[in-house]
Subunit: 145 residues, 2 copies
DNA sequence: GTAGGTGCAAAGATTTTGCAGTGCT
DNA sequence: AGCACTGCAAAATCTTTGCACCTAC
């Protein structure tokens, strides 16, 4: 995975390599995606002293150098995810809050038409799609409240 | 516009008709879309005494009965918009923060493939797409920093 | 008349910032 | 050794909630 050269990325922009930055990046990679709080919890399993504000600042830096990105999933909870994963789209169920990841290729034609008709360059990994997942749809269908 | 029957919608669910609710709905319709703060400002042009918490509560109610929806555009600022507008998708430029509205039909094939492959029922009006708008792309191209 | 609704102020939740001490280079 | 980075605590945002009064029905 590209995380191998993570320290290069930081150094290249004049940032320093610190245990906190390594831990946060590893936590994000391990989790796949998570909110700052969740990431902090994961980091603290290895280093209890790390502070939440450090996580925020670190995520900013990691995003700056392109090692992570974030998407707005629920209400006010931004979700960060590592960049070396395959690019994927988040499907968020408004019923059960589950988050599914879908291969970004599915959206390729759509992205292209946005480019063609609007001249808009879509940031795919940042895209969040709200709706109702299969499980909840089926539950509704049978329970038909 | 369907807002004609807005009071029916509320009554049907057992809600009462109040000046505040009318004003908030009108403000949203007039603005097209806006954050709670922006909506409050618009409402206060006609009734200065209305409180921000009332706007929040009212938006919840209006969303409950399907008169407005919200999407997460920037960081923590949810944007509400009226439902009787044509259904549209928001394109948000991460460079200049401009919000463009695009006809939802553009996404129809994509939505359909999400249904077909994932069984996911997309809430189109809730979809926010991040990226770079035409203007900013062109600016970058010429300025080539 | 009576429940639901509103205003106000305080409490929560989330994110940012100032500052002094620490540690990467 | 110098300056970026971190931890801590306070500040800034944004949103929700408790409560007393008001008002639509």
């Amino acid at each position: 995975m590209s995380t191998a050269a993570w320290d290069e990325r930081l150094r290249a922009q004049g940032y320093r390599i610190t245990p906190q930055r390594q831990l946060v990046l590893e936590a994000v990679t391990r989790l796949g995606h998570g909110t700052p709080e969740e990431i902090l919890a994961e980091v603290q399993r290895q280093a209890a002293g790390v502070n939440l504000s450090t996580v925020y600042r670190t995520l900013d830096v990691l995003e700056e150098v392109g090692l992570v990105t974030h998407a707005h999933i629920g209400h006010g909870a931004p979700t960060f995810h590592s960049v070396d994963d395959e690019v994927h789209i988040h499907l968020v169920c408004r019923r059960c809050d589950a988050v599914e990841s879908v291969d970004a290729d599915l959206a390729a034609p759509f992205i292209e038409s946005l480019d063609a008709t609007q001249g808009f360059a879509t940031d795919i990994s940042h895209m969040t799609i709200q709706g109702v997942c299969r499980t909840c749809r089926e539950a509704t269908r049978s329970a038909q409240r």
